[in-house]
Point group: C2
DNA sequence: TCTATTCTATCTATTAGAAGGTAGATAGAT
DNA sequence: ATCTATCTACCTTCTAATAGATAGAATAGA
């Protein structure tokens, strides 16, 4: 693994665990054993680093979603697999999605990062909307709003469930809510 | 308004807008025109301040909930009024709930703050559970899980909707999701 | 091929500022 | 004489970022 990849991966974990304003180049430096100046060589500013973290995370996440599409045709099964991604993201140490972290810390963040976060939402919502529409046509899902609107609601509800699980350090809060939300739109 | 109240209110706004690690005693100092040392007199450590902010916010929020109970007997109407609280919290400058902010920034926070955040969840979930049960009995709501579980899911979904609205600086993301979630459990 | 140069990736050293917090003085009220 | 609330002044640590040196790899020209 290259140094810049190591930096990204370490920064990703620190972001997910502590938030953007709660980790420093110094923290990364200690963890991977290079000086902070070397990190600045790869990512001149912390915002560059944040943007790269978000971008890599988004691409990785979309790859996981593509895998779900490849493995099943059932809308319900796909939605369940999608929900499992959230549980997997959280892991055993209650990591949040990097995008949740960046949203709460976003007040002073440059647009380049905000756009990356929005792209993450849009990518997920687009996929969800098409999966929901498929389920609607096949009559395995039922809801009043449009698939697009329902996708937005579901995705944000999933993110919210992670927040709750972290607050109590109780993963069952996440898994139970994920299941229950899915059940709410099942026929 | 006393100085310590001014400090709390200013800190609350900064917390909601920027997060715990993104505001300082210096910021409060400038905003209300006293020196940082004076803030330390009222709140010795930043954690004391955070705890007090969360506590006051929780009590104020519960007062709003009690008002809802006093104004209507309809479970649906009460749930709708509850949802409006989230919209009101966010305001026009996309403030988050202080508890969402503290959860994402919580990694290094002392238990005294975490407990206050959990109490906020529990208070809300308890009220929601009883309102949901009432609606279930009156057959205006319909859901498979227990009222307690459904309350947890709804509350976290509402919090997640705020996150999404902030990410896009688009309040309709919040209001639409709130309405849609309520509709999902209506008979 | 040999030499000169440029590029890559790291280091040391340093800066300017901000952070949270403390000590001690002071003025006014009780 | 004590308590309350504020101040000035200071401390230590951390922060993001920059400048300049260095060693080695890659590249270009004779």
């Amino acid at each position: 693994m290259t140094t810049s990849e190591q930096i990204i991966d370490t920064a990703t974990e620190l972001l997910q665990k502590h938030g953007f304003n709660a980790f420093s180049y110094g923290d990364i430096s200690k963890l991977i054993g290079i000086k902070t100046a070397s990190i600045h060589y790869h990512y001149p500013s912390k915002y560059d680093l944040g943007k790269s973290v978000m971008k890599k995370y988004r691409l990785k996440h979309m790859a996981a979603i593509n895998k779900i599409d490849a493995e099943s045709d059932s809308p319900l099964k796909k939605l369940q697999s999608f929900a499992e991604l959230f549980s997997h993201t959280m892991g055993k140490d209650y990591k949040m999605s990097p995008c949740s972290m960046l949203i709460t810390d976003s007040s002073g963040l440059p647009d380049s990062i905000k756009v990356e976060v929005q792209d993450f939402y849009i990518d997920n919502e687009t996929w969800l909307a098409s999966t929901l529409k498929d389920g609607l046509d096949k009559e395995v899902f039922k809801f009043d709003a449009s698939p697009t609107e329902c996708a937005k609601t579901l995705f944000s509800a999933f993110e919210g469930a992670m927040l709750s699980a972290r607050a109590f350090e109780d993963k069952s809060r996440l898994t139970k809510s994920l299941k229950q939300i899915i059940k709410l739109i099942q026929t």
